[in-house]
């Protein structure tokens, strides 16, 4: 409820930062499904993000669709990419083999954005028109904020419901011991496909929001630095925790804005994120959400166990 009043106290730029946080909340919630809940090391998230963003951008520029109609198709494009990314996992490729392969997949997609200038604008980037919702144009950040907040709340609640259900428990079983899960009758292959598709769907919606927020997509936005940002978010927040993803997105998105105020820190985002991940892995393996759970049990993840 308090969040609804945010536009009253923020200026346009800070509102933009808050909107970016909302985008990253969706991205990290989707990423957490594969990394935190299914326990697989996959770098394909940046590919889903880029595919969602470009799908939304191409549908609005080439087909002239209003932005709100492209959100769900962008999610489906991301889900399709998720199915493609899960093929190696279905073939039995696991651990760092999967990581390397998804890394190559992400770079291949970035190459594709550059090499298809007819659709994506090539290395010059793609300029996306102002987002439209039911015929109204979202011209300023405050209007975008309410639309984004609505999408994020709906998707996050749906994801949390899904992860608390039988499906989420199956993911955790696969994470803990894949052989044991298969022995108990869980069709692991189907759940791999489902997890990657779900992750792709959520991240694809995040991508379409990113396209609407930034207004200009360029291939450099979707390189490996982006994927390390996603990793930083879910590691700092807490693997496999929804509260953690939200907390991590807010913290990591706010960091560059805080750094900007200190002269000697300008340009240090990279090593600060790197050191933050190292410190969290060494001293707080479950992320900030585990600290919150100690303070108040309401933040405890009911559906997540180590």
């Amino acid at each position: 409820m308090l969040a609804l009043a945010l536009p009253l106290v923020l200026n346009q730029y800070l509102q933009y930062v808050v909107n970016l946080m909302l985008v990253y909340i969706l991205v990290s919630v989707g990423f957490n499904i594969v990394v935190g809940n299914l326990g697989q090391l996959a770098f394909s998230n940046v590919a889903f993000f880029g595919i969602g963003a470009y799908a939304s951008g191409i549908l609005t520029t080439q087909l002239g669709m209003p932005w709100w109609l492209t959100v769900v198709p962008a999610g489906f494009c991301g889900a399709l990419a998720g199915c493609a990314a899960s093929i190696p996992a279905l073939r039995g490729v696991r651990l760092f083999y999967l990581a390397i392969m998804t890394l190559a997949f992400g770079e291949l997609m970035r190459w594709l954005y550059i090499r298809t200038p007819g659709l994506t604008g090539g290395s010059m980037g793609l300029t996306v028109p102002e987002p439209a919702v039911f015929g109204w144009m979202l011209t300023n950040e405050y209007q975008k904020f309410y639309v984004f907040l609505f999408i994020v709340v709906v998707v996050v609640i749906a994801t949390s419901r899904l992860l608390e259900s039988r499906i989420g428990r199956a993911f955790l079983a696969i994470k803990n011991d894949e052989n044991a899960a298969a022995a108990m009758g869980i069709p692991t292959g189907q759940y791999f496909l489902l997890a990657f598709a779900l992750s792709g769907f959520v991240v694809g919606i995040g991508g379409s929001m990113y396209a609407a927020l930034v207004g200009h997509l360029s291939p450099e936005d979707f390189d490996l630095i982006q994927v390390i940002l996603h990793f930083a978010i879910i590691m700092v927040g807490g693997l496999g925790s929804l509260i953690g993803s939200i907390l991590g997105s807010i913290l990591i998105t706010a960091t560059p804005e805080v750094i900007r105020h200190f002269e000697w820190l300008v340009g240090s985002e990279e090593w600060i994120f790197g050191v933050a991940i190292i410190v969290v892995i060494l001293f707080l393996p479950r992320g900030l959400s585990s600290l919150l759970a100690k303070v108040n049990p309401i933040f405890k993840d009911r559906y997540y166990r180590d």
Partner: protein
């Protein structure tokens, strides 16, 4: 794609004389990939951890030489004693190279001891993320300090070109750089072959690759040897980084580029196989050059990605590897 292949077939007579040159320069760049893949394989064999931050450590090796070079030249100029006289016979580049390899050895040793060893028993996810985070932090520091301008690596010898052979229109040229790279990589491969298969150290590393727990039961100090191997792997990678800096320019972002080519070579050769890594690197170097000219320049960038994806989909254990997939 089809028109391109047709145009290649029609222009076959015109394209064919380029082929030996392409293969030679492919071998030269492939040797670089091979050295990086070799250093990653050595790390992997000892600790069964794949270092996702290796590309950035390779980059750090080149920067370490760049930073050390002026210091070394300055000191030699000041010294007028017998030591200075002795030092004047040794080129400062060599001194700086050895120093930077030592620095990277220490880096690898400390990284493994401080950051990797405490979480070695933990999940693979945090191991991989730790390596990524270390690489990211290194890149961040280098970019903050040196990322603003394009830096040129100091050259130890002038650029020269030699004609290898010229036989009825089929001629190839090779630069001095490329010859020295090939020589260094072959020497390094021989040394690592001898060390890993003939010495006591190599046998200990083999034992640790098979089972760390078992080798600690028979009295091997696993932590110490793991630290050493990380040091060795990082300094070999730094040697690759110096060559890369000579072949291209110094660039903080070269890490990911390097890492993916190293991975492609390792995947093609099979994870954990020393000669597999070298052969994989050579094949990828040649493929890049040949496909880049004969089909499309776009292939220069994506050959390694395609190799990774195709090899892991079709034959995940690579050419000479052990096993890579999980059977359920």
């Amino acid at each position: 794609m089809i028109e391109q292949i047709q145009s290649v077939l029609t222009n076959w007579d015109a394209m064919l004389p380029v082929l030996p040159q392409l293969v030679v320069s492919g071998i030269a760049i492939g040797m670089l990939y091979a050295l990086i893949a070799l250093s990653m394989t050595i790390l992997y064999r000892a600790t069964t951890v794949v270092n996702f931050g290796h590309g950035d450590l390779v980059m750090l090796g080149a920067y370490a030489l760049f930073i050390l070079m002026p210091m070394v030249t300055f000191n030699i100029a000041v010294e007028s004693s017998a030591l200075g006289l002795l030092a004047s016979f040794v080129p400062p580049f060599l001194v700086a190279l050895i120093l930077s390899l030592l620095v990277l050895f220490a880096m690898g040793y400390i990284i493994h001891r401080v950051f990797i060893w405490p979480i070695l028993k933990g999940p693979h996810l945090s191991l991989a993320l730790m390596a990524i985070a270390i690489g990211y932090a290194v890149r961040g520091v280098i970019r903050k300090e040196y990322g603003k301008e394009v830096l040129q690596m100091p050259r130890p010898f002038p650029e020269q070109e030699f004609e290898l052979f010229n036989w009825g229109g089929f001629g190839t040229y090779m630069t001095l750089d490329e010859m020295i790279f090939c020589g260094v990589v072959i020497v390094m491969l021989l040394i690592s072959y001898i060390v890993f298969s003939k010495t006591r150290f190599g046998r200990i590393v083999q034992a640790m690759f098979q089972t760390q727990r078992g080798s600690s039961l028979v009295g091997i100090n696993v932590m110490h040897y793991n630290n050493l191997i990380w040091g060795v792997g990082c300094s070999l990678g730094a040697l690759g980084g110096v060559m890369l800096g000579l072949a291209l320019a110094l660039d903080p972002d070269v890490g990911v580029w390097t890492l993916l080519r190293g991975f492609a070579a390792m995947t093609l050769g099979g994870f954990g196989s020393l000669y597999g890594a070298v052969i994989g690197g050579l094949i990828i170097g040649i493929l890049e050059k040949v496909l880049g000219v004969f089909i499309s320049t776009a292939f220069i960038e994506i050959t390694c990605y395609l190799v990774i994806i195709l090899v892991l989909l079709i034959r995940p254990k690579g050419l000479f590897g052990q096993h890579a997939t999980l059977r359920i």
